[in-house]
Symmetry: C3
Amino acid sequence: MADLTLVLGGARSGKSRKAEALTLAAAGALPPVYIATAQAFDAEMAERIALHRAQRAGQGWVLREAPLDLAGVLAEAPAGAAVLVDCLTLWLSNHLLAGHDLEAEGQALRAALAAREGPVVLVSNEVGLGIVPENALARRFRDAAGRLNQDLAAQAGRVIFVAAGLPLFLKGGA
Amino acid sequence: MADLTLVLGGARSGKSRKAEALTLAAAGALPPVYIATAQAFDAEMAERIALHRAQRAGQGWVLREAPLDLAGVLAEAPAGAAVLVDCLTLWLSNHLLAGHDLEAEGQALRAALAAREGPVVLVSNEVGLGIVPENALARRFRDAAGRLNQDLAAQAGRVIFVAAGLPLFLKGGA
Amino acid sequence: MADLTLVLGGARSGKSRKAEALTLAAAGALPPVYIATAQAFDAEMAERIALHRAQRAGQGWVLREAPLDLAGVLAEAPAGAAVLVDCLTLWLSNHLLAGHDLEAEGQALRAALAAREGPVVLVSNEVGLGIVPENALARRFRDAAGRLNQDLAAQAGRVIFVAAGLPLFLKGGA
């Protein structure tokens, strides 16, 4: 079963940088796998994603994309390789916009994580600490994201909340 | 004076489940009292509330409703019984929509809590960690909710922040 | 180099009160300097600011205003005096609305902090823990505020997150 770490945080909290450092520290002989879930909806985003890809590849990461089929991409990563998923919030949002069953997708993800061997670091946004959104879709998303974070935190051995680049350990040690 | 615990958290953070467990753990011989503050504005919400009621009653809770008169309902609960209030954010929102004086309502609540004997667990949302809302009523609510949380945290012996189902102790021990 | 403390928190979290207490505790023989960044856009806000000014002056603070030129005002404060900046979020927002380069302003601020002698306490809002704002300017602001908080947290010796008036130490001790 995967050695699972969940890194939670707000927008621009430094959670991705922290998660990258944790993944590299956990990586053994196999190159670490970076699974990006961002989907390019326009040229600006496509450019940002391409820039990210080039930076990561230069740092020795194996790059994979999983805007939707995260369970499948996790299953294909080499056994024992350290895997970073950045981020679950975009992945969930992609499924919401595609009209998929978010509960079923969450279950498939948890099964894929349970089946993996080696360290996995998941990045996820905490989105429930503001005022109730006026937009109904945003409310549905907020609920689904909160439930997913709870489920993955229960499955993880280590849960870290990042604020201003600094880690707070909610589960597991430093 | 009540043995007061404040459980803070975001939407779908697992704060209600944590608060229920704390209340049951603190309950003595008397059945625990569950005070719900949700108000049904439509059929869907009425159904959800009825379902919740049935679940709790089956688990041995005495059920009370306090969309507005929380101080009164707290005073009527048997002395020594463990009480759970879920949640203060809806209660405050009900008073805001009713046009009541939120400062006065907060004072009455704090007096009722000070007068109780036995454990009380309060659930409340943290709503001030997003961008300033464009809606003026939402801004007023956010300010009032933050002030209420501060006042109750000062009164409580234990304050717990819940994220992804995991507790972080802000005041008092585990 | 300044002995720097960053106090993060949500709206009405009690972060300003905590920061004031920390500044007063750190002040030596020189009177502490209170640098306010709020800008009055209407009569109501002008009145609130005037009230704040009068309260602080009565408590022995030297009052300074820095809606934009915070680096300059920091440089002018007496060497060794304890300084409180309340708050960075309004200051950043003032620069955003003025169309300034937020990255450059952040760098100038960090240089001014590095050049100071004596304790400095900075108050800043955490604004990235809600749903992605629909407003593009709000998204830009959220990103800039998160980056500023990360940069200042790296520079600070102590970082405190305040929720419901209670401190959580992210960096440095109690």
